[in-house]
Symmetry: C2
Subunit: 194 residues, 2 copies
């Protein structure tokens, strides 16, 4: 998907508003941050703020990327080993977050203290999981539906673990985090079912 210059500018401004929100919230908690303070810090008017986000929780979430369409299509049509194809897919998805380490660190920390932000994060993850489950169901049309859902939920946990390893400095990159998280899950599976 190619974005126009205008779209890219809009995403860039949204990102600046998001970072301003998260940095202010990090210092004093999201509850204590006003949209006026966010607008001032981001160098915009509050009117512009509301042109981008309906409230500060939405600004903290920003515009998180969905799964790339091409990668979803590849996964749905792939004929290789499911585990290998799924890992490739997650790698492409995580690539989209490689500039977002600070954002992910703030969001992880704030998600625990703000119930409204936690709810937005949970909704995002649920939507991603449903998208992935639908894609896996297209790949395996004869498999029972709950299997696609379980695989998708499993993939979301591995993704979360990869992000956690990266933002907590246990992995040097998102790809290294994915490798570690994947190997850990394989170890657990072997201990249980090997």
């Amino acid at each position: 998907m190619t974005l126009s210059l205008r779209q890219r500018r809009r995403l860039q401004t949204a990102r600046e508003i998001q970072l301003a929100t998260l940095r202010l919230a990090d210092a004093r908690g999201l509850d204590e941050v006003t949209t006026e303070a966010i607008a001032e810090r981001a160098g915009i008017s509050t009117r512009t703020f509301f042109n981008y986000f309906p409230n500060k929780e939405a600004a903290a979430m920003g515009v998180p990327p969905g799964f790339p369409e091409d990668a979803l299509a590849d996964l749905a049509q792939g004929t290789g080993h499911l585990g290998a194809d799924l890992k490739t897919f997650l790698g492409v998805h995580l690539d989209q977050l490689r500039e977002d380490r600070e954002i992910l660190q703030h969001l992880t920390a704030l998600g625990h203290s703000s119930p409204r932000l936690k709810h937005l994060l949970e909704t995002l993850l649920l939507n991603l999981s449903e998208d992935l489950a639908a894609t896996l169901a297209r790949r395996m049309p004869t498999a029972p539906e709950h299997l696609s859902q379980m695989l998708a939920e499993w993939a979301m946990r591995v993704t979360g673990q990869a992000i956690r390893l990266w933002i907590e400095d246990e992995a040097d990159s998102l790809h290294a985090g994915l490798d570690m998280a994947w190997a850990e899950q394989r170890d657990v599976a072997r201990m249980l079912f090997g």
Copy 2:
């Protein structure tokens, strides 16, 4: 662990208060239920209510069983296949809930609508998961700590799935639910890593 007659009576009263709370909450939502209404329905005074529970959310939770001490010891000292021993352990744990189908149905439904109850449930599951992880770490003293934690979190998910299959009538018993949930997880593991 053998309970005295007095302890059994106390647990029985706690259970009656819990059921009164859950049945009232099922009809009108936990927020709309007063401790006075619960006491009246359970046939006790509000003074007795507060002798058992500090508030209605605690009454809704009741006195959930922890893991049986004997089963924890068996799991820690076992030398069989880890998967088989863990499944036996979960079966013994779930046996404690075999009279609690109605309670589990109410709690599952109410956990979504009451944030305070949801928090109590999450705390309970977190504590159980930590107990299990500590036991698994005793069994595998040389394994990395995160492996015990991942195995424990995995076991808690399978337990939750077994309960869900039972209370939603997809499995005839908790043991049948555990068999189904276990087999589903094994299928997922084989698709990913087989």
